[in-house]
C-alpha cells in the first residue's frame, strides 16, 4: 500500500465494497440515511457483526431506539447471532433505548449541558472490547429526547470526533422524515460525516416496492453515482453493483 492509498474497512455488505473502492475509509464517519423501513439498522448491525466475525474487528453498537433483545431477535433471522459475540467479548451492545425502566423522567431542560455522559459511556465500551467499529443507531432519536437543538448539533461534532480519534470507523444512522428534503431531523447530518449512503424503499407499482442504495458522497473515494438495487435476503442486506434500481 502506498502513502496515497487509503486504508479501507470492509463493510460486510456483499456488493457494497465494489461501489466504494473496497470499503469505508478507516476512521471516517459514515452516515446511513433513509426513511423508516429502508434497512438502516440492519445494514449498521451487519457492519458490526461481519466486522467481528469475518475481519476480526471488534465493534460497539449503541442503540438509542430499539431495545437490544429485539435487535438480537431480528438479526437471528439472518443467521447473525449477536448474543454469542457479546459473550465472546467481540462486540458490545450498549442499551440506551427509551425502554430502560430505570431511566429517570426528564421534567426540565436548561440550555447548559453537554453530551459528556454519552461520550463516557461509548468510550468505556470502545476500550473494553478494543473496538475498531462503532455504530450509533439512531441519531434522530436525540431530537425527541432534548429540546436544545443548537447544543446537540455542536455536541455531535465533538462526539463523532472523539470516537474517530480512537481509530474507529463510525456509522451513524439517521431517519429522513417523510416529505423532507434534508438527510435528517437536525439538518446537519451530512456535515457530520465524510460519507453519506442513502437507502430507499420506493413504491414502483400498485403492488410492489423496490429497495435501492445510493452512495451520495464518500470523501477520498471514487464511488458509483448510480442508484443500485439492494435486497434484504435470508443472509442480510445484499447490494447488486451491476444492477440499476428500477425505481429510479
Amino acid at each position: 500500500m502506498s502513502d496515497y492509498d487509503i486504508d479501507r474497512v470492509k463493510t460486510g455488505i456483499p456488493g457494497l465494497d465494489e461501489l466504494i473502492e473496497g470499503g469505508f475509509p478507516r476512521g471516517d464517519t459514515i452516515l446511513i440515511a433513509g426513511k423508516a423501513g429502508t434497512g438502516k439498522s440492519i445494514l449498521a448491525t451487519q457492519f458490526i457483526y461481519k466486522g467481528a466475525i469475518e475481519y476480526d474487528e471488534p465493534g460497539v453498537f449503541v442503540t438509542l431506539e430499539e431495545p437490544p433483545h429485539l435487535i438480537k431477535r431480528n438479526m437471528l433471522r439472518f443467521g447473525m447471532d449477536l448474543e454469542a459475540l457479546v459473550k465472546e467479548g467481540k462486540i458490545s451492545i450498549v442499551d440506551l433505548s427509551p425502554s430502560k425502566e430505570i431511566t429517570p423522567v426528564t421534567i426540565g431542560e436548561y440550555p447548559s449541558f453537554d453530551l459528556s455522559g454519552l461520550q463516557a459511556i461509548i468510550m468505556n465500551h470502545i476500550k473494553k472490547v478494543g473496538a475498531k467499529r462503532v455504530v450509533l443507531d439512531t441519531l434522530s432519536i436525540m431530537a425527541y429526547k432534548f429540546r436544545s437543538r443548537d447544543i446537540l448539533r455542536e455536541e455531535f461534532f465533538k462526539l463523532t470526533a472523539m470516537i474517530t480519534r480512537t481509530g474507529c470507523t463510525l456509522l451513524l444512522t439517521s431517519e429522513i422524515p417523510a416529505n423532507a428534503q434534508s438527510l435528517g431531523v437536525f439538518d446537519i447530518e451530512a456535515f457530520l460525516a465524510s460519507g453519506v449512503i442513502v437507502l430507499y424503499n420506493e413504491k414502483i407499482s400498485d403492488t410492489s416496492r423496490s429497495r435501492s442504495i445510493e452512495v451520495l458522497k464518500l470523501r477520498g473515494s471514487k464511488h458509483s453515482s448510480r442508484i443500485h438495487s439492494m435486497r434484504i435476503t435470508d443472509e442480510g442486506i445484499r447490494v447488486w453493483p451491476g444492477e440499476i434500481s428500477p425505481g429510479h
Partner: protein, 108 residues
C-alpha cells in the same frame, strides 16, 4: 450533609431523600450545577437529603445504567433535570418528592 460518594446503597432506615448529581471531568457546566444543588438542599437544613455525586468520567457504567447522556443531570426519585437547574425548579422537584414520600408513609 454534603457527603460526596460515588454510589451509596440506600439503607433501609435512612429516611433522607437521595439527590443524585451526574457530572464529568470535562463538563463546563457541572461545577455551577453542583453549587446550585448544594445551596438549595442546604436551605432545608441537615438530615433531610443525601447528596450523591456521580462522576461519569470515573463511573461510566452508572451513566449507562440510568441512561444519562447529558451532563449535568440532577435526579431525585425517578425524575431528572438536565443543565444547570434554576433553584426554584429544583425546589419544586424536591417538594414534589417530599409530598409523594409523605403520602406513601401515610398509606402504610
Amino acid at each position: 450533609m454534603n457527603n460526596e460518594q460515588d454510589v451509596v446503597p440506600v439503607e433501609e432506615e435512612d429516611d433522607r431523600i437521595e439527590v443524585v448529581l451526574f457530572k464529568s471531568d470535562t463538563c463546563a457546566f457541572c461545577p455551577r450545577a453542583e453549587e446550585v444543588v448544594r445551596e438549595t438542599i442546604d436551605d432545608f437544613g441537615p438530615g433531610i437529603f443525601k447528596l450523591n455525586i456521580i462522576n461519569v468520567s470515573e463511573n461510566p457504567e452508572l451513566a449507562e445504567k440510568y441512561g444519562i447522556f447529558a451532563l449535568p443531570t440532577v435526579m431525585i426519585s425517578g425524575v431528572s433535570i438536565t443543565g444547570i437547574p434554576e433553584p426554584e425548579m429544583l425546589m419544586k422537584m424536591i417538594l414534589g418528592v417530599k409530598v409523594m414520600s409523605k403520602k406513601k408513609s401515610e398509606s402504610k
